[in-house]
Symmetry: C2
Subunit: 244 residues, 2 copies
């Protein structure tokens, strides 16, 4: 039995996230359907994380097991010929049988792209979040450093989540600007439901003076979702790197 | 009578080019319809050039005359509220009555974006031309310099064109790479129908060895469209700058 690891990139605009669902188009659904066409067998794929509807991936990792001896380079070409154009397989590699794309993750990096201009960018309509008022990236970068550390991030978790253990370690967090594009970048050992989008919403509240710039630690310690900012929309969010 | 100059940016994917046509959606059609809604009068707009179906503009200039006293900043906001999201007005300014966006052009710059990878980029599906085989940007940049000068560019004009005078001056031409993106950049006093796309097709033939790298001058002098390369597809082409 071979264990194949795939690295994907996808534009999530058209999908209801990664995870397969009835009556909804998902990235996992498209991938499993393409695999079934090529290998002529029904195979279930393990994804490294569940991305939400409209969220993108610059790098997404998954694995599946098969007896099929097709060479990895052929798997890449065959899948890319069957997949919709907004999903691409970057690489396929054979990994040890025990490898699991979700359980073996060491760290992940997300980025959140903010188009910081009064004028929309017609080339980036579904792939950035537009925010019209000037963001102070120096102030926000300084504030973002307070996300770094091992904490119970319960205040940064969507209220509907059923996760029991809300302790996570954030390795790094930063805000930078290139022209009109402001990017929030955060890496950690794992992320709660909507965690990155609530972090960005909190930074925006800091920019607007609704939250004080040195208040992030207090919000974390409060464990109170209501003290953090709003959940920003999904279109600016990208799973950017997955490390094993 | 005021003469208003608008600077636009648009993603041309959904449009049959700039110029207004019956039974086809065009950028000019969308703009004139938005102007009519705001100013409650039918106004004809002069565009700086005709872009083809699927061609984009990072900067496109046009002008129109009106008695309406609406301040320029309000014109920008009002038009952006009425226009489809893939067209944006960057700026509006009052110019002398005689100014004409097409006739007063001093130079234009086009860029052509080539995604040079075997793997498509799901975020750039309609905004780059994908070319799978490795491009030698150093060789192509050197070859592109032979486009510079004042010549009869008849060999680089689509055969259906009705233009009489095919003499144009190319001020600069270059090929550069950033990662997997290769960009052809060319500026001149004017361009013939499909001229930039035939230039790119010729560079690709040079890369493939179908045309010799020092043969561009000979092709120009031949005035023979059949000696140049193919017309590459429109989705990589952008009107990038217009100077007056």
């Amino acid at each position: 039995m071979r264990n194949l690891r795939l690295w994907l990139k996808y534009n999530g605009t058209a999908y209801h996230g990664w995870q397969i669902q009835d009556n909804a188009d998902t990235v996992q659904g498209q991938l499993e359907s393409a695999i079934e066409k090529i290998f002529c067998e029904k195979i279930s794929v393990n994804g490294c994380s569940r991305t939400d509807a409209g969220v993108h991936a610059n790098e997404f990792c998954c694995n599946f097991r098969t007896e099929n001896p097709m060479p990895c380079a052929t798997v890449v070409r065959a899948l890319n010929a069957k997949l919709p154009l907004d999903i691409v397989v970057l690489k396929c590699e054979e990994v040890p049988f025990e490898f699991h794309a979700r359980f073996d993750t060491k760290s992940k990096e997300y980025i959140y792209k903010i188009w910081n201009s009064e004028l929309r960018n017609p080339f980036l309509l579904d792939t950035v979040f537009q925010y019209k008022y000037k963001l102070d990236e120096t102030k926000l970068n300084k504030a973002a450093k307070d996300f770094i550390g091992t904490y119970d991030f319960g205040a940064f978790c969507a209220s509907g989540s059923s996760v029991q253990d809300t302790v996570r370690t954030v390795f790094d967090a930063s805000v930078s600007r290139e022209g009109d594009m402001v990017v929030f970048r955060v890496s950690g050992d794992g992320f709660l439901y909507n965690m990155v989008r609530i972090m960005v919403g909190t930074l925006i509240y800091i920019n607007e003076g609704k939250i004080k710039e040195d208040d992030i630690k207090n919000i974390i310690l409060s464990l109170d979702r209501n003290k953090a900012g709003k959940t920003v929309s999904p279109e600016g969010l990208y799973l950017n790197k997955v490390n094993y």
